[in-house]
């Protein structure tokens, strides 16, 4: 395949079957390899859409500064596009994220403002909103509320899935900004009204839920629960176990949030088997494992890996 530039190569990622992890010939699992995007994650799609939309609307002009709260992947994608388009990029990132994410952001020229570990991404959002208020000329694309985030998936990821798998019955993805699930989910529901849309929400260590008050909770503006069929909370131990199974059984080296999505996908597969129903279950490999090597996720016992992840934002 030939493309005019790196950005032109975005999307059209492979959908690969999992012959060993699929329970039967009638109940099959399929992995959408979003690590095969320019910066190695699914976030390249919304980043490109959000920047393009802001350019069209005249919000972003050459030399502008982009500000974004991000636990990593969105920031990395935005930094890459910003570098190519001539924008300054500032990321607000919780301090409890992996070292590789910081290195990658700096490599693509982003400046990093750290937010406190306690409260996780909630704090990053709060700090970024404060900075945006102090610097009105900066452009905050705000992935949690930007329709272009979900639109990227409605217009690209969703159609790609159905093109490759017209018999699709389930779609499973990690829940963060909710953009992937909202965009793909809406598209698939229009095309296949009976499709099941399943969210796998990471359940972190207690530090991340260390809010001062329950009213400080956060729900992304993009989130619409009517798009989902159901939503599972997946702890770090299950996510790690599935991440390792994917590597062992199918050779796919994925990040830890992918293990969470696989865990929910396998749960839906087991239900389909029990009910005697046919199923083609597609789930998102949001990124590869490279950025998580320093977390110890892939070596030692599961218990050691789980202990090492305590308090880290792994999705």
């Amino acid at each position: 395949m030939r493309f005019d530039s790196l950005l032109d190569s975005l999307g059209r990622t492979p959908l690969v079957g999992l012959p060993r992890l699929s329970p039967s010939a009638d109940v099959r699992l399929w992995a959408k390899l979003e690590d095969r995007n320019p910066t190695g994650s699914v976030k390249d799609r919304p980043a490109f859409y959000m920047i393009s939309k802001a350019e069209k609307e005249g919000l972003l002009t050459p030399g502008c500064t982009i500000l974004e709260p991000t636990s990593g992947n969105t920031g990395i994608s935005l930094a890459m596009v910003a570098k190519l388009r001539g924008y300054r990029m500032i990321c607000v990132m919780p301090e409890n994220t992996s070292a590789e994410r910081r290195q990658l952001l700096e490599m693509w020229g982003a400046e990093i403002v750290s937010s406190p570990a306690a409260g996780g991404s909630n704090e990053a959002v709060r700090v970024a909103k404060g900075l945006a208020a102090q610097n009105p000329d900066w452009v905050m694309l705000y992935q949690y509320g930007n329709e272009a985030n979900a639109l990227a998936h409605y217009e690209t990821t969703g159609p790609e899935l159905l093109d490759d798998l017209p018999t699709l019955t389930h779609f499973v993805a990690g829940l963060g900004t909710t953009g992937t699930l909202m965009g793909v989910g809406r598209y698939l529901r229009e095309q296949r009204p009976d499709v099941k849309i399943v969210a796998a929400e990471p359940r972190y260590g207690e530090l991340v839920y260390g809010l001062r008050n329950i009213d400080e909770g956060f729900i992304p503006e993009l989130y619409d629960d009517s798009v989902l069929t159901t939503r599972f909370s997946v702890g770090s131990k299950d996510a790690l176990r599935r991440t390792r199974e994917l590597l062992e059984q199918e050779g796919i080296f994925a990040g830890i949030s992918t293990g969470g999505a696989l865990h929910a996908a396998l749960g839906m597969a087991a239900k389909a088997v029990k009910a005697g129903e046919r199923a083609d279950i597609a789930f998102v490999v949001a990124d590869g494992g490279w950025k998580y090597l320093s977390t110890g996720a892939y070596g030692g016992t599961l218990e050691e890996a789980e202990a090492a992840l305590e308090g880290q934002l792994w999705a």
């Binding site: 409260g119 991340v208 159901t230």
Partner: protein, 90 residues
């Protein structure tokens, strides 16, 4: 046997610091009512007159109860209920 309920840090002032408590009931609503008799004030932090509070997420065996039956979701001995505040991902 009873139903295990995992309590988030932010609500442990109501459970004497306990990370998990046990309760009984046929529905989530009854379970919260039962817990409130031993941990007064807990129910009010989870539920308002419209149902589950906006920033409170409750999971029955890891599945979000909003997609099951909300407060009317059936629960049984041996189930595990997890309460968490809604936080940002991404």
């Amino acid at each position: 046997m009873a139903i295990e309920v995992r309590i988030p840090t932010i609500l442990r002032n109501l459970t004497g610091g306990d990370k998990a408590v046990e309760g009984k009931g046929g529905t989530l609503d009854e379970l919260f009512g039962d817990l409130d008799t031993r941990h007064p004030g807990l129910r009010d932090r989870l539920v308002d007159d419209k149902g589950l509070r906006k920033f409170v997420n409750v999971y029955l065996n890891d599945e979000d109860v909003r997609f099951l039956g909300g407060l009317e979701t059936s629960v049984a001995d041996g189930d595990s209920v997890t309460i968490l505040p809604a936080v940002a991902g991404g």
